[in-house]
Symmetry: C2
Subunit: 246 residues, 2 copies
């Protein structure tokens, strides 16, 4: 019955074109097409051309949570011997804006967003659409389906998990390497230490040839140095800036 | 078969006592008892007296995510016309440490924690145990069961959702009322404005009779004033301090 209903949606309804586009992108025929339309309705584009009177922000909110849980469990089972610190770190690397933007890019969501919104695309719209789409799949097909779909069709397909594992501790050493290659000195200095919500917070600066290039704050010096190194690499043109997390 | 297995666990195994304790607390007979034991094993208590060689932190990490999703969906459906800003705010009020500590208290998890750990209980152990328990239920019984259980046995039972709705904007007006009653002046001053991860951040001070009582930082002045008011109320003894979020 559900299959017949889906086929009706797919072949006969006025939503045929949208349903086909969803099939291209997702690899399955959506049940409740209107939820998927909502997932692609950006707030900046809400007028006669937009798909629905609502926008995708509520779905993003829901999808963000669902994706977070699926990723959390995926890592929990993939790394049975890792502690929760490592798991939390890996999870935030996967669900951060930059990674989701890349996933949205690989899923070719830009085409759909372009077709159904009359606004200029920004990179962060890709990541937001991934979240909204996860929310839509969850409402349409339930948790188990969404879980299986995300793990098989998104995480295993578009994420290089081993690259992510080794990712974050690289900026400092990459910057060091670059400085050595270019005959420059590099040093890190603690600029200030302050309390933030009762926890110690460190502001660290990175200096190349004794000139301050960037600063960053974090709850420990090591992480602040990493962030400052990343900023310095963008500042020095070694690393290209991607859309920031938002 | 599963029922028989559960009954075996409950009545015959050496874990009988623990299974009974879980039945008291949860209202159902656990399937995989060892996961629930893990949920109550605090890291500070890992020696011969502790239940298992691992501790509950990995389960907390998982349960935090699962609870976040269940709460997200609960609010999504409860407030069909609210925007994602409201939903996000409500969600964080529910999953914050203070609320979870209270839920753990009402679930009487302190008794179980006391019995199975040889460490002094802190309030935050209650909230952590709630999260770990959600992780355990999820691994033991799956998403649908956990969802139904959390909504019916925890959210509807222990949360006053309408109180939470009206909760956060109260500190400033409560403090104002107190000052008026006690013939004191009150003012708020912007102490500094700085950049934090590329966003503007505001440090605000609250002054009673021109004396600075407390300061707080946030991404907008209104929220900073609210936090500063809350701190001031604790400082002035109007509000009792609960365990902070951590």
């Amino acid at each position: 019955m559900r299959v017949l209903f889906k086929l009706f949606n797919f072949y006969l309804s006025k939503d045929k074109y949208f349903a086909r586009r969803m099939y291209d992108v997702l690899g399955f025929i959506p049940g409740n097409i209107s939820i998927y339309k909502l997932a692609f309705s950006h707030k900046s584009s809400q007028n006669e051309k937009s798909l629905l009177s609502q926008n995708n922000e509520r779905l993003e909110y829901l999808g963000d949570a669902v994706l977070g849980t699926i990723v959390a469990e995926y890592l929990f089972k993939k790394y049975p011997d890792s502690n929760e610190g490592f798991l939390t770190k890996m999870r935030s690397k996967i669900v951060k804006r930059k990674t989701l933007n890349r996933i949205g890019d690989k899923m070719e969501l830009d085409g759909v967003l372009q077709e159904f919104n009359n606004t200029r695309l920004s990179r962060s719209m890709l990541g937001n659409a991934v979240e909204a789409l996860v929310g839509a799949i969850y409402l349409d097909a339930g948790y188990s389906f969404t879980h299986k779909y995300i793990v098989e069709k998104i995480l295993r397909r578009y994420l290089d998990i081993h690259e992510l594992e080794n990712y974050d501790d690289n900026y400092k050493s990459q910057l060091l390497e670059w400085c050595q290659k270019h005959g420059k000195t590099i040093s890190y200095k603690l600029i200030s230490r302050y309390k933030y919500e009762k926890r110690d917070r460190f502001k660290v600066g990175v200096f190349v040839n004794n000139q301050r290039i960037a600063t960053a704050d974090d709850f420990n010096k090591k992480s602040a140095e990493q962030s400052a190194s990343e900023k310095a690499m963008i500042e020095l043109g070694i690393l290209s800036e991607e859309e920031d997390d938002d």
